[in-house]
Symmetry: C2
Subunit: 255 residues, 2 copies
Amino acid sequence: MLHKFDSNSEAVFNKVSQRQDSTFKLLYFPIHGVAYASRLILATTGAKFESASPTNWVEQKATTPFGVLPVLYETVTTKEGDSEVQEVFEIPESEAIERYLARKFQLLGQTPWEEMKINAFVSSTKSLTFLAFSRIPTVKDTVQKQEMVQDMVNKSVPAWVQSHERYLVANGTNGHYIGDKLTLADIRALIVIELVLALTEDRVISQEKTPAIWKLWEGVRAIPSFVAWRNTDSYKQFDAGYQTFVKGLLPLKEQ
Amino acid sequence: MLHKFDSNSEAVFNKVSQRQDSTFKLLYFPIHGVAYASRLILATTGAKFESASPTNWVEQKATTPFGVLPVLYETVTTKEGDSEVQEVFEIPESEAIERYLARKFQLLGQTPWEEMKINAFVSSTKSLTFLAFSRIPTVKDTVQKQEMVQDMVNKSVPAWVQSHERYLVANGTNGHYIGDKLTLADIRALIVIELVLALTEDRVISQEKTPAIWKLWEGVRAIPSFVAWRNTDSYKQFDAGYQTFVKGLLPLKEQ
């Protein structure tokens, strides 16, 4: 049974939201885009998931809860007497999907303090992500765009690296922001670290220059289910688009 | 005692985070900006708060947890034996502040279902807010900028209005997204409704055209503590800047 976003499925949803054995389908365009963090959660936690793309977006658009993607479909199997029933839940909106998955997989901390800290690291990281993947690409004028890229690389990136390295060192350079646990802060940081490495190679982030950020990067990247995801055709397609996007930011390279 | 963001204050923070009698100081520039949602939470819930601005930002910048504003300072009074102790907590980053306050004041729902729905409405609303207050203002080229404003008014705004009116009607046109409770979804919607009214007067949102959105707007605006905040000098200063910003989007008016 499909429980649409606007259905009255609260009781069953509240029960199912705790389940750890769901399978997921994330419907989105074949790019990282605003689904990247959610896919990273699914990949790093070892969840069973597939990335699907709309076959006819113009028609499908009106059937989604807000006329936008991503939409997450979570499937769980429940028992009714002797028979098994499939319950499918529709969860729209990138930020809602990310928070729902992060909560489900215990990536938002276990105390108010941890949650506040995770949210602060995430918010700081998202500002830089948003600059790179939304504000800068919005600008068509090539002169302004290039100025913004330079400004990002010369100011926003070093500011992020400096403060986040400091907090990661303070936590023991163990590859995490909070204790020894994987959290949404680590996962969100991956997106920025990948971007910085693509834009500046080893000039800003490296094992020598930023050992704590580097430890996070290597640690999360080594999670077997994440390694496995990077070997899928879906990931390779998203990554090819990503590399093209980054090259578009990069007359930089000739500096 | 001031508990900085990087202090080891978890135990006392976890206790204090539940307190409903704190006083707050929100340090930010004298504009609505990315502090608007947090100030709206404080104003609509009747919290005791003041808006403060940096006196010398160039010097103060380095003393903040991430070199950016807003930063929230929460003060609670605790008893130690016969004497009272003031505990002050520093909470950085707009999104972390907003989530922390929303959690404290029960604006994120009481079940996983409510939280997922609130997050979805908030995420949808933030996309439009981000377009208007961040992506469009980023663009310097006046032709592109005006095209984006037109596109927002002709496409993004009607899409938001249509889907959100539908969900608010489905909840009974009672001025709320979830039950009969004020939530972060309502508060975030205010920001978009105010913008749409400023840009399009009664052409898109009105009591006749969108009764459910209108009910939310009037209902939240009538909360006495929010009315009181709109009469403060701080609010009036922020609002003056806001009106100037909106006018900058508005050759539209001549349509």
